[in-house]
Symmetry: C2
Subunit: 255 residues, 2 copies
DNA sequence: CTCAAAACCTGCGAATCCGCAGGTTTTTTT
DNA sequence: AAAAAAACCTGCGGATTCGCAGGTTTTGAG
């Protein structure tokens, strides 16, 4: 391995990111909206939480394989993840994106013994892994956790059905705008650029169209000064202005 | 009211259908797959089950209004129902169909205080209504019911996300075929005709296309001897043959 | 810094899909 | 049984969307 200066710094920064705190615990975790934190399981039953595994997942690594036996579920401690289904003719459909505090692989429950989705890290990410057995144990011991998880599913279901409707009724332009707004809500912007590395293809796979169409729409939006770009990075100047086009005939719905 | 012979018989048969048994109870109910039955709540806590209301809902009646305050949830004791969301430009998107034993309005949980969907009876139907308070009471008292409801949501979520993918990737013809197969799975056939009264418009609103396209596809399918029609009724001769067209490049998924 | 690979962009022709318009058939009402 | 309403059907022009093909720019590795 060659220690070019830049690379060395990069590697060190990676180590710092992933290793500090060396082994994150639920007690010290900052993701307050995480379903584990919310249920105050931290104080009442640390014995369960110590059984979880911490996994460092490198960028691009596929840590949940569609069709593989369910291994339990993951929480994103820190990082960014895409969740996808491989569909007709092998075409990928990105179901959602997730960042710190969110659950991945929860569809494993109930839907048989195989994962219905695949999950890939969009950047180096730290994941908390709970085995199925551990989750079942926790759920059995804590009805309020089961109830919370149920509510979470209910909300996800609403979002998914809203998305069905969007796919059925929106034009490609609207779907792309809607996707950009979603990405903005999910990851935010840094220096006026969306704080995540996505290819046009990935945006297309999320929006339900093709790479070319996304590129065309982005070109138009740029000409109309609704967005600006720097390489593959995209920035939304005025979120309200961009959303006005789809909220006109819509009842403003999260996807 | 004029008692033409045919009409009279029709009315009487309606009364028989809706009034016998006079007041259906969970104990005598035949819907074994109902989540209440499955949890053996019938034996252990009849005091809850007596608090439910039985509602007779006439054909075409809108018993859940999108946007209205959540009033609890319904089970279809006997009958057929469509569940829809009003979407962009007032266009209706039919989310799913339901028949005996199925839950309606479960999305009321967690998703705020207003129904996200509307529900309309496709024929005279008998509904069991549980108030929100009653449901919360039952869920609190019976963790296994909460768990089962959670699993139910998980499966619904899978189905919904599969549908997102279909809408994103299928052609209109495929979506119509897929919808016909779904309707067949849900309601079955009687005398080689789908056992439910749906307009072409309703099929379109479910499949995510327009009435005209559905009519065109149905014409083609009829010419190709894949289906036959009698008035507005549709019959599928050979389910496997019809499904072969979409299962070729698909992994055979329920919607 | 240089080079190769990946990602991005654009034009164009074809395929698909939509919506109107007007006519026919079926269903429902009177 | 007749009339009215609803639902069904079809042709056609236009709009949208797609996918290929080939070129340009950006990114990342050495």
């Amino acid at each position: 391995m060659i220690y070019v200066k830049n690379k060395y710094i990069y590697v060190v920064s990676k180590i710092i990111t992933s290793m500090t705190p060396v082994k994150p615990t639920c007690t010290t975790c900052a993701n307050e909206q995480c379903i584990i934190k919310k249920n105050r399981l931290v104080g009442s039953m640390p014995e369960y939480l110590e059984k979880k595994n911490i996994v460092l997942c490198r960028k691009g690594k596929n840590f949940i394989l569609e069709g593989a036996p369910v291994q339990g579920l993951y929480f994103v401690h820190k990082g960014k993840v895409k969740v996808a289904k491989t569909g007709l003719n092998g075409k990928e459909q990105i179901v959602r994106f997730a960042s710190s505090g969110e659950i991945i692989g929860h569809r494993g429950f109930g839907a048989g013994q195989f994962y219905q989705i695949s999950a890939v890290a969009l950047e180096d990410s730290l994941l908390c892994h709970f085995s199925s057995a551990l989750m079942y144990e926790m759920l059995q011991h804590t009805p309020s956790l089961t109830f919370d998880l149920m509510l979470f599913y209910a909300e996800e279901l609403n979002r998914s059905e809203t998305k069905v409707r969007k796919f059925a009724q929106m034009t490609v332009r609207e779907k792309v705008i809607d996707s950009l707004l979603y990405i903005n809500r999910k990851f935010g912007q840094y220096k006026n650029l969306l704080n995540v590395q996505l290819t046009r293809k990935e945006i297309a796979d999320f929006a339900g169209t093709t790479e070319e169409q996304v590129i065309r729409i982005l070109s138009s939006l740029k000409k109309e000064k609704l967005i600006q770009t720097q390489g593959k990075k995209i920035g939304i100047d005025n979120v309200l202005l961009l959303s006005s086009e789809i909220s006109e005939h819509n009842f403003f719905l999260d996807s």
